[in-house]
Symmetry: C2
Subunit: 193 residues, 2 copies
């Protein structure tokens, strides 16, 4: 998505440790008109039946609800990030390590909202090591739900997350794939690295 | 909003301690078609110029972005909930006590995204003791921004939050005001209690 690459180059900020922040239009302040374009683009990329969109709090929520509009207002389900696994029979949970916060979390969803009849589009803002996306995939598998694909706004192509999930046979589409990043420049790739 | 009252009666769950959960359509799974109606209703209630919508992660994000659509896609800014106050010059922060989690948090926004030229509509899902809303009001005041009003999805009318914020002279509009709640029934009021 060319408009996204332009926007990242213009408004993104790079911090030490190859941390890319797009707080100006997605992760803190949200450009809601552009968000709508992101939703339309995911609809174009995944031109299939989707009964539910799954994401994880917090930044994924805006993107998922904007996308749901273009799937006839299908429900969005957002996994909660919890500090300890909830072993209740009422939830599915999957471990994930946050490299940003250097801490293990669990992604958790109530079983009643995800089942084997669901055709799920997974949506998230960033894909780097793939911890969050892997957890969301696990939640779908635990529920026996079909994974239509994974739509990502920004993938760090040189980190292993995208490859790991694609090797499971899952269709991962990223709107922008960063191929390299320095304090002064961000480069993009047209295809997964 | 009659449709909301009906939905809460039908799909809401009451837990011990007067905890109302609407996880079926707002706080975990999101009914995105209904979310759009909520956005339209806030637009009808606050028929004024709004340059920015301010909310707090996580559940407020979906409501805020759905509402922004009806203010010509104005930007949404979501305050981060952080465990300790960030004393950096780059942020405004305000303390809030979470009665649900029995813990003090800070709502934080980057100064660059909120200033004295902003006409802010504050949006949140629940209003009970008013801790979160009070923190969002404080962030606007610190920034010198004008507060157009506060749009709340569900207010627990018998708790003090609504009164406290209205006594500041701020226009608080709640789509549903719960007047009483037991395990078996939920009653609503047409006006703030």
């Amino acid at each position: 998505m060319k408009a996204l690459e332009v926007k990242i180059k213009k408004e993104g900020k790079v911090f030490p440790g190859e941390i890319l922040k797009i707080d100006n239009f997605l992760n803190h302040q949200i450009d809601t008109r552009f968000l709508d374009e992101i939703g339309q683009e995911f609809r174009r990329l995944f031109d299939k039946e989707v009964t539910k969109i799954l994401t994880i709090e917090a930044s994924g929520i805006a993107i998922a609800t904007a996308t749901a509009r273009y799937y006839d207002f299908c429900p969005v389900l957002f996994a909660k990030k919890i500090a300890a696994a909830n072993m209740s029979d009422a939830v599915y949970s999957a471990e994930l390590f946050s490299y940003t916060r250097k801490q293990t979390f669990y992604a958790s969803v109530a079983k009643e909202y995800l089942n084997e009849n669901d055709k799920v589009l997974i949506i998230d803002d960033f894909l780097a090591n793939g911890e969050a996306l892997n957890a969301l995939v696990s939640l779908c598998k635990q529920a026996g739900a079909e994974i239509v694909g994974c739509g990502i706004v920004v993938e760090k192509g040189y980190q292993p997350g995208g490859r790991k999930i694609r090797e499971m046979g899952i269709d991962v589409q990223s709107l922008a794939i960063v191929s390299s990043m320095t304090d002064d420049s961000i480069e993009f790739a047209d295809q997964p690295l």
